[in-house]
């Protein structure tokens, strides 16, 4: 499907879902990334990990299926799929740190041109810091996908030369999915894989980071 306009959150979730390899073990972060699950094709064989201790998590629970002992990392009641397993927290985070998880999808305040991630703390003096599993996930999965709008509400770019918010992880992001473009973060810098309703030249004017067109 060709998109000639910026993506809606649901369209963005569908684009991320499209790029998740069949059979991958995947962790979807709290918030927008959770939506990706709704767009995974039937039979994709993707196994969802939730860091509070479960593999093969099913969709959100409704009505009589709500069980207080079965929630996702956002503490939303969920369901289990056949073949699910439960485990304690040390095992759950070993799955990340130990490099067993294929992909995680996270939200972000900022991503730098070298793949640094800032998504846990705005650094505001009155904010209560809370990190959860964000730092473990950022360095733990084989591939870290970020999903965000490219610009904040004031029009400030969130893909930046260097993060100004406190970091979650260093050089950990592999790909950035935004409403107007998808970027790969590589050793030689950022490359643009796709655009939605914009062009690389327009992006070059609005971003303060060097951009290449993706090969192939």
């Amino acid at each position: 499907m060709v998109h000639d306009k910026p993506l809606t959150p649901d369209q963005l979730a569908a684009i991320v879902a499209r790029d998740i390899p069949e059979g991958a073990y995947v962790n979807l972060g709290i918030g927008q990334p959770t939506k990706v699950a709704d767009h995974l094709p039937a039979g994709s064989g993707v196994v969802l990990h939730t860091e509070n201790g479960m593999l093969n998590m099913g969709p959100a629970a409704v009505g009589d299926d709500v069980d207080p002992d079965l929630t996702n990392a956002g503490k939303v009641p969920v369901t289990e799929l056949p073949g699910a397993s439960y485990f304690h927290h040390a095992d759950s985070f070993a799955m990340m740190r130990g490099g067993h998880l294929d992909v995680c999808v996270l939200g972000a305040f900022q991503v730098s041109a070298t793949g640094d991630l800032a998504n846990w703390h705005t650094g505001a003096p009155d904010a209560i810091p809370a990190v959860g599993g964000a730092m473990d996930l950022a360095i733990g999965a084989k591939q870290v996908f970020v999903m965000m709008t490219l610009f904040d509400k004031k029009g400030t770019a969130k893909l930046v030369p260097e993060c100004t918010y406190p970091l979650t992880g260093v050089a950990c992001v592999s790909r950035v999915y935004t409403d107007v473009a998808v970027f790969d973060v590589g050793p030689s810098g950022l490359s643009v894989r796709e655009t939605f309703g914009t062009t690389i030249d327009e992006l070059r004017e609005r971003l303060y980071v060097p951009l290449e067109a993706a090969a192939g």
């Binding site: 069980d67 207080p68 929630t71 956002g74 503490k75 939303v76 927290h89 740190r97 733990g140």
Partner: protein, 231 residues
């Protein structure tokens, strides 16, 4: 120490917890939270506590009730701020409680290390972030790590689904969360379970926490609060 004791009441189960103790409290949000043990701890009166838990209380039940009662001096947790963490938020903003934020995986692994007799370990989590400041770093095989120290509890209060009279435990679904790790990491582990069954009636292959890690068990009915985010 020695064999697990099965007690009649939560008040007996928390007896002897001293002022100033470090208490590991199980649960992820409200799933697996040992409500009856916490309520008994509030009645018991121990104060000046250091609490180690993933969150810093939800609503006004469980851990939030303990905080509200003014018994907690310091909290180590990964995710204090939530839509319903107003009890903690107020204490923190008015300077009446100390907070150490620990990445969730480091929190679990630091307790695992305590329970396993590990002196300290190098973790790749938080390298290059504010949470690594002041900590020793080392590059091992080209990757950077931060030195993390064990978190040992004087007591652990955890919830499990079922215990046998040996103190062997099984858990239920994602309510397992920190329970098995905390059970190993405290000098005295106190567990509330929905059911105590006779020796020999748990499948040994299915035991998650062996009774050697469990000191006191009390039966208490599971409580079901509205889970945050429930529809």
């Amino acid at each position: 120490m020695g064999r697990t004791r099965i007690l009649e009441t939560a008040d007996e189960a928390v007896a002897g917890i001293e002022d100033g103790s470090t208490v590991l409290v199980g649960g992820f949000g409200l799933a697996g939270m040992p409500f009856d043990l916490i309520d008994a701890l509030i009645r018991q009166g121990a104060k000046d506590l250091t609490i180690v838990s993933n969150n810093a209380g939800n609503g006004e039940v469980g851990l939030a009730a303990l905080l509200q009662a003014g018994r907690v001096r310091r909290v180590l947790c990964s995710f204090p701020r939530q839509s319903d963490s107003y009890v903690f938020d107020e204490l923190y903003r008015s300077g009446r409680i100390e907070l150490e934020v620990v990445p969730q995986g480091n929190l679990a692994e630091r307790m695992r290390a305590a329970g396993a007799g590990i002196g300290a370990f190098f973790s790749p989590t938080a390298v290059g972030t504010p949470l690594a400041e002041g900590k020793e770093q080392r590059t091992i095989d080209g990757r950077d790590y931060v030195l993390e120290h064990p978190i040992k509890g004087d007591y652990a209060l955890i919830g499990a689904h079922r215990a046998d009279e040996m103190g062997n435990l099984v858990y239920r679904k994602t309510a397992r969360n920190f329970g098995p790790v905390m059970a190993t990491a405290a000098s005295t582990t106190i567990v509330q379970v929905g059911e105590v069954v006779p020796i020999g009636s748990l499948d040994p292959e299915a035991v998650v926490t062996p009774g050697i890690f469990v000191d006191r068990v009390v039966r208490a009915d599971a409580r079901h609060y509205t889970v945050q985010g429930a529809r």
